[in-house]
Amino acid sequence: MDTQAVIKEQVTSNAVVLYMKGTPKFPQCGFSNLATQILKACEVDYLAVDVLADQNIREGIKSYANWPTIPQLYVNGEFVGGSDIMRAMYESGELQTLLNMAK
């Protein structure tokens, strides 16, 4: 399976997926850390994919949603945004609504 197919499989077979640097316990970047904190505050279960563990995913995820940075959040297969957008949506309450529907 090529990388784009692997990513598609991941984001469609899990309701909430976060592509990040490091793991939720040990994030390797401030933006990824922020993303995990936001999801924690939303009390949602999610699949965390450490892009540092897989070079193919790390590069492939950038073209998947035409988004050159990490972290990236996907809900029900749809790209939601990076950490700036996650924060803005969390502050407006949109993210909680979206995640509640996905649970």
Binding site: T69, G81, D84
Partner: protein, 83 residues
């Protein structure tokens, strides 16, 4: 080392901005506030993608981290009236 000023220039070369302010002095981490009429009718994801498109390959090569807030001129106007 990439300066905030240079980054502003990179963005404005390819995107019409009513207002832009980029902060950051370590050469790799930046914060930007960008107001552009081109953001009209676009989702937040599309607005950020438009900025990434303006930066092109520089986003992969020179810039490690760019935190941004994008606003349409109307949203910018409303924000200013509030403050």
């Amino acid at each position: 080392m990439l300066s905030a000023q240079q980054l502003e220039t990179y963005i404005t070369q390819n995107l019409v901005c009513d207002y832009i302010k980029v902060l950051g002095d370590d050469g790799t981490h930046f914060e930007a506030l960008i107001v552009s009429p081109e953001f009209q009718g676009k989702s937040m994801v599309q607005q950020h993608q438009r900025v990434y498109a303006a930066l092109g390959d520089k986003m992969k090569a020179e810039i490690h981290a760019l935190s941004m807030r994008t606003l349409t001129p109307e949203a910018w106007q409303k924000l200013n009236n509030k403050n």
